[in-house]
Amino acid sequence: MFKRYVIAMTAAAAAAFFALTGCAGDRSATTGTASEAQADTASATQLASAAARGLELDYDKLASPAAAVAASELIVRGTLVGVTDGISYSKAGQAGRSVPYVTLVIKVDSVLKGTAAAGSTVYAQLNISSSADAAQLAKAAQNLKVVAVLDDISGWTPAKGVTVVRPKGVAAGDPLYLAFPDGLWLQGAADKAMVGVHAERAEMSSAWGAPQTLDQFWAALGKAAK
């Protein structure tokens, strides 16, 4: 009887502890260490936290899978095979202040919408923190699976008189794709759940059906695309 009480009390104390520590972001549920990521147990949390350190976005959400399909030009699933320099601008930012991007290099496994083929490579722009760079993110990107809902931002410019300079790999005339903040989800072997760089699963509208994994996210999009 005493033992049963001790177990019950320990469980209750643990429950109290976790409840009292508040609502930490759901990224903490998939935390992995650097050594784990290096040992073929890749985790997307490292990439996400490095890319978004000190950068917070407020964005209009993709309200549902159907809305994501309607708003996007390309939806792919694949493997992240690299992170390289992203778009830059004809005019440098004032006093070293700019809005930096990297290019996510995605080897495509499946296409849900748009012009791309399985086995091809898709380049997607991602807004990142000024404290991150492509080389740093490339190390953290190894062996990550990805689903990307992409917007074509060809012709976009951040301000009057500023020209967007395309990165290598994106030829003039090709679409210039940008990942929707809540349309880019990553998952490594060590991750129990998919991880967003700028979005958190808890922020997705109920119309998404609370997907926890890339498989579930992809399935929701696939159902809407039919």
Binding site: A19, G54, Y59, D60, K61, N127, W156
Partner: protein, 186 residues
């Protein structure tokens, strides 16, 4: 044995209370983003923001910070110094982004100077444009003082993502819980 039973009941009650009482259920860690370098939040307007369609929203957000928390503000005019806590920008941000806050210059773990970038065209999609701009501006300043995103129902305040659900003033203010965190810090 009776003592154990009482202790067990007390612990379970504490756990249940922390889960279901409104004050505790909406508890958040602080800071969720980063801390500024002091309780004085200096700010400036870039040329693009000053000539934008609504620079008043920047003034509004700074005044809300000043009037609803223990933090203070100081308008330094046109942006020039990288020690100014907040540089306000008006930009066309790519895609569906309404606004951004980013710490540009760090001093250890605290932020010396941050950018707040507002995309008026994206914000003005939908209804309630003026209030929506003010919500976004208050929201981005919230990031520069340690606040993260709060889901509706968790904290009904300016830190929700996206368009405001209504003209209710709560969507342009910080939640009392957040203010208690800020005032405890500064």
């Amino acid at each position: 044995m009776r003592r154990f039973r009482i202790a067990l009941i007390a612990i379970i009650a504490a756990a249940a209370g922390s889960l279901f009482l409104p004050g505790q259920a909406s508890a958040t860690v602080y800071p969720e983003t980063w801390l500024p370098d002091s309780g004085l939040h200096t700010y400036c307007f870039t040329g693009g923001f000053s000539s934008s369609i609504d620079p008043g929203t920047g003034t509004y957000a700074m005044n809300i910070l000043d009037s609803t928390t223990d933090m203070t503000i100081s308008n330094l005019g046109a942006c020039s110094a990288n020690t100014t806590d907040v540089w306000w920008w008006s930009l066309d941000l790519a895609g569906t982004i309404r606004g951004q806050a980013e710490c540009i210059f760090w001093s250890g773990s605290v932020c010396d100077s941050a950018d707040v970038r507002i995309d008026f065209a994206q914000i003005d999609i939908g209804d309630n444009d003026i209030a929506d701009r003010d919500k976004t501006s208050v929201h981005e300043i919230g990031h520069t003082i340690g606040l993260g995103h709060h889901s509706p129902g968790e904290h009904n305040c300016a830190m929700i993502s996206g368009e405001i659900p209504s003209l209710d003033i709560q969507w342009r203010r910080y939640h009392a819980h957040d203010i208690s965190h800020i005032n405890a810090q500064f």
